[in-house]
């Protein structure tokens, strides 16, 4: 059951190239599920006019955290919210995912955020994780501590996460795999993993208006039908997603 609230930010911290915000909220813990996200905005501001969809990074009894990568005006302003200031929060949104006990996670860049959250819901697995620079690879130790094998790659050193996967394709066999990263990376990945796509699920991003299935702006073509990322997603079976 989603709700809309103005909630205080109790921590703003730089994590690698990103900003981590901790939001005080005692209720989220009991309702947020793996796969969920929130729409976030600045109180008393119409600039930007639309709230921004942001994944959970973590949720505990007293608060939840989000990880923000500055892309444009909206994320820039969000990243500057200070401790003591507040945020508009609409959520939790999206369709809950029943995470497997064990599986593969493939993250590109800020794509680590929802996968970090997902790893909390799993017992073990393998993370393949790529970023531009070595120091952008955040939270890898924490995910290791959760029982995952972590394989990283950086463009400055060796290549992209797609390169990493093509070297380790056999890992995917018989496993449920979850991918989150830029759409270009997802398309490339789809190209190389072939049959494994059937057991692969992908976090899809779309520009959103309402987050509540109302405006139909976050459409994605899935198996010959338009679905809504905010309501039916954000996670879809990779082989069914038709990219434009």
């Amino acid at each position: 059951m989603a709700s809309f609230q103005i909630l205080p930010v109790i921590e703003n911290r730089v994590v690698g190239p990103y900003t981590l915000l901790r939001v005080e909220d005692k209720k989220m813990h009991s309702i947020a599920k793996c796969g969920h996200f929130v729409m976030v905005g600045l109180p008393d501001s119409m600039d930007p006019f639309l709230l921004r969809p942001i994944s959970f990074l973590s949720v505990d009894e007293k608060s939840f955290t989000i990880l923000i990568k500055v892309k444009g005006k909206g994320t820039e302003k969000l990243s500057k919210v200070k401790e003591g200031e507040s945020l508009k929060i609409l959520g939790p949104l999206g369709k809950a995912l029943e995470p497997p006990e064990n599986g593969i996670l493939i993250a590109g860049g800020i794509g680590i955020a929802p996968l970090y959250y997902q790893s909390e819901w799993m017992k073990s697995g393998v993370l393949f994780y790529g970023a531009k620079r070595e120091k952008d690879l955040v939270f890898k130790e924490e995910i290791k501590d959760r029982g995952f094998i972590v394989n990283t790659i950086s463009e400055e050193k060796r290549g992209t996460v797609v390169d990493l996967i093509s070297e380790n394709l056999n890992f995917l066999k018989g496993k449920k795999t979850f991918v989150c990263g830029p759409e270009s990376m997802i398309k490339e990945l789809k190209g190389i993993i072939g049959d494994y796509a059937k057991d692969t699920f992908v976090y899809i991003e779309r520009r959103m208006g309402c987050g509540l299935g109302g405006c139909k702006s976050c459409a994605v073509k899935v198996y010959f039908e338009y679905k809504l990322v905010c309501q039916d997603g954000p996670i879809f079976p990779l082989h069914e997603v038709k990219f434009d």
């Binding site: 809309f4 208006g209 299935g213 702006s217 976050c218």
Partner: protein, 298 residues
């Protein structure tokens, strides 16, 4: 006691605040108590399901939103089966926004709609190839569609006008002549966003519909013009974000108003606006909406 009710041509609302078409769907009932709303207009539906336009379908403009949804919807059957029963649980006036690519389409779809407070006829969508704005620009077509719908339904018929008409007063008159109970003024304004990276229009269909505060003075002027020129109740729509905007619309002649994009920015806006209108009326000692409209000094 403050009386917020408003009624015109067989349309009765417990307050003048209506949720506009295309910005909400059933999940929004989790956020806002629909029992408190004057009414809700369900998203534009067509005879057959429509996929809508390729993404991106929405972005921001200065003080506004621009969309190119293309009337994505699951069709009238789905509405009757899956949506209406759930909406009927709420004590609020339910309207359905309908869309067709031909007069024939409009007739057939209106036959299939019953058990609601009224039909809102969309002759003003800027994001579709056939129908849409082109219908809403031509007084003859506006008249013909209104008449066709009215012939096929006993429900009150509201026609939603496009600001792209060169003379919106003439179109409103045509709707009145065709049998409309009210007009909604207006739908979104045609606009363009260029993606300077790709050097192309952002939307696949090039044009989009601008909504939000940016269009408020323009839409307000249309409401004023129609109210002055035609004996038809006007439902104001365009850029309303707070109770002061509502007052402006009511003073300009609107009988009630619709809230659209504002719920993207603040999902609780409808509740806050209703509360603030009551607070304002209490402060001023007003009893009903007529008191708001009439200038006491005169």
């Amino acid at each position: 006691m403050i009386d917020l009710t408003v009624s015109f041509n067989h349309i009765k609302l417990k307050n003048p605040i209506i949720l506009a078409s295309g910005v909400w769907d059933l999940p929004y009932t989790e956020i806002v108590d629909f029992n408190k709303l004057g009414g809700v207009v369900y998203k534009g539906i067509s005879l057959k399901p429509r996929e809508g336009n390729p993404t991106p379908r929405i972005t921001e403009t200065p003080c506004g939103v621009i969309n190119s949804i293309g009337l994505a919807n699951k069709g009238v059957e789905n509405f009757n089966k899956e949506v209406l029963p759930l909406l009927k649980k709420f004590d609020t006036a339910i309207f359905v926004n309908i869309f067709g690519e031909s007069i024939e389409d409009f007739s057939r779809i209106s036959e299939k709609i019953s058990d609601v407070s009224g039909i809102e006829v969309n002759i003003s969508c800027p994001n579709v190839k056939k129908g849409g704005v082109s219908f809403g620009r031509d007084p003859k077509t506006a008249y013909a569609i209104t008449k066709a719908v009215c012939k096929n339904t006993s429900l009150p018929v509201i026609v939603k006008l496009t600001p792209a008409a060169s003379n919106i007063v003439e179109i409103a008159q045509a709707c009145l002549d065709g049998g409309a109970s009210a007009v909604t003024a207006c739908n979104t304004y045609q606009g363009l966003v260029i993606d300077i990276e790709s050097k192309k229009p952002l939307f696949d269909k090039v044009v989009g519909g601008v909504s939000g505060p940016a269009i408020k003075p323009q839409a307000l002027y249309k409401v004023y013009q129609i109210s002055e020129g035609v004996e038809i109740p006007v439902i104001g729509s365009g850029g309303i974000t707070n109770y002061k905007d509502v007052l402006e619309y009511l003073i300009a002649g609107a009988k009630s108003i619709q809230l659209g994009s504002v719920i993207f920015n603040n999902p609780l806006a409808p509740m806050e606006i209703i509360d603030n209108i009551i607070k304002y009326m209490n402060e001023k000692g007003y009893r009903n909406l007529k008191d708001i409209r009439e200038c006491i000094d005169e």
